[in-house]
Symmetry: C2
């Protein structure tokens, strides 16, 4: 595994485990795009993705990583957690850029009822953030 990828993974796992949101932007490319569970259109830009990831990391309880795959700068990280009494299994599909920052992040999850609960949990804070002019969805 290239040094940059190894360092990224170590820091990513630390940031998520410690919910160290202040350290998160350094792992995101400025022009990051994100395929989030609720929408087909990609979310664009570091500020918006940082904000959404912060909400997700707080909304999913007992967030735990499991299987991990790496192929060059393409990563797949499986996780589980729950929102209230609804379990979630998900995967982060990550493309790193040449600085080992995330250029694209797609998040896929199951089952449907847990994803909908997560969306409902986050929606009010996300709407408030967007109403203040933070970020923009493509």
């Amino acid at each position: 595994m290239p040094d940059g990828v190894h360092e990224f993974l170590t820091e990513w796992h630390r940031v998520v485990a410690e919910r160290d949101l202040a350290a998160l932007p350094a792992l995101l490319a400025e022009d990051i795009s994100m395929g989030a569970p609720p929408y087909w259109a990609k979310l664009q830009g570091r500020d918006l993705v940082h904000h959404l990831l912060g909400l997700v990391i707080h909304a999913i309880e007992d967030f735990t990583y499991h299987r991990e795959w790496q192929d060059g700068n393409e990563l797949a990280l499986e996780f589980t957690g729950h929102v209230g009494d609804l379990d979630l299994q998900g995967i982060d599909l990550i493309t790193l850029d040449e600085h080992s920052a995330i250029r694209n992040l797609d998040v896929l999850m199951r089952p449907v009822n847990g994803v909908i609960r997560l969306r409902e949990t986050i929606a009010p804070q996300m709407a408030e953030y967007l109403s203040r002019g933070g970020g923009s969805a493509a």
Copy 2:
């Protein structure tokens, strides 16, 4: 990549591309479990999973594989497709047994509206299959 894994992947891609459902059971362990998008509980057994995969392969149009990860007997296969006008991005998380047959298959997808459309498309046929006593959900 071990020979068995390579042979599995070659045959899996052929079966999906050609929708060769008659050849699918040979790739599934008899006691296969499957984490499907709609439910948290695993579906159990070759007959039930074979039937569901057949419905999925027919319901998702322009089914195309993209990124692929492999780590020992653990695979992650990204795909895209659409159900009517709703796009889907998904991933098959596959654990192979010692005979290079699927022991566990988890299917994660986004976005939510596409997953719900897929569930609605398949539900009548799945209900009819289950009412005839085919398979059982855990």
